[in-house]
Symmetry: C2
Subunit: 96 residues, 2 copies
């Protein structure tokens, strides 16, 4: 499945900054960062369930916001990027 | 059409901060802010062409990044939000 994950994390506190790092790291483990807080993930549905749970366990639902956009398999063509940080080829080598 | 617009704007300079405000304002004119730099827009295709051009004219393609995700009409159900800043009802009254 192809999922866009975007998040807003309240970083006014130290714990918020820590949540942000952890949330980013989880997303980086399973997807491609395309903007500061936007990731594109191409993962099997069962793996997504665990990714989602890791994110839910990490975030503070009172402070942080997570959005998941489920695009169809052939929806990748429906993405337009303009400007800096060119779109990574999600099937290409993951830059670690 | 239903478009997700997300952006990263380099705000290290005053002109960058001004670009950020303008880009946010353009998106607010045509869509619903769902996260800091993520907007959901339900607009006719011809209107989207002008919105896109306004954004392209405002951004600095060397510094800023704009992404457009084109979801299908009936893809709204494919969005999951968790946490703070509940999802606005895009057909509801726009809070100005």
């Amino acid at each position: 499945m192809f999922v866009i994950i975007s998040y807003d994390v309240a970083t006014a506190t130290r714990t918020g900054a820590r949540r942000l790092r952890r949330i980013a790291r989880i997303c980086e483990n399973y997807g491609q960062r395309v903007q500061n807080s936007v990731f594109e993930c191409k993962i099997p549905p069962n793996l997504f369930v665990s990714v989602k749970q890791q994110l839910l366990d990490t975030m503070d639902p009172e402070e942080d916001s997570l959005r998941f956009y489920f695009l169809g398999k052939d929806d990748e063509g429906k993405i337009l990027h303009v400007g800096a940080k060119k779109s990574y080829d999600i099937d290409g080598t993951l830059i670690i």
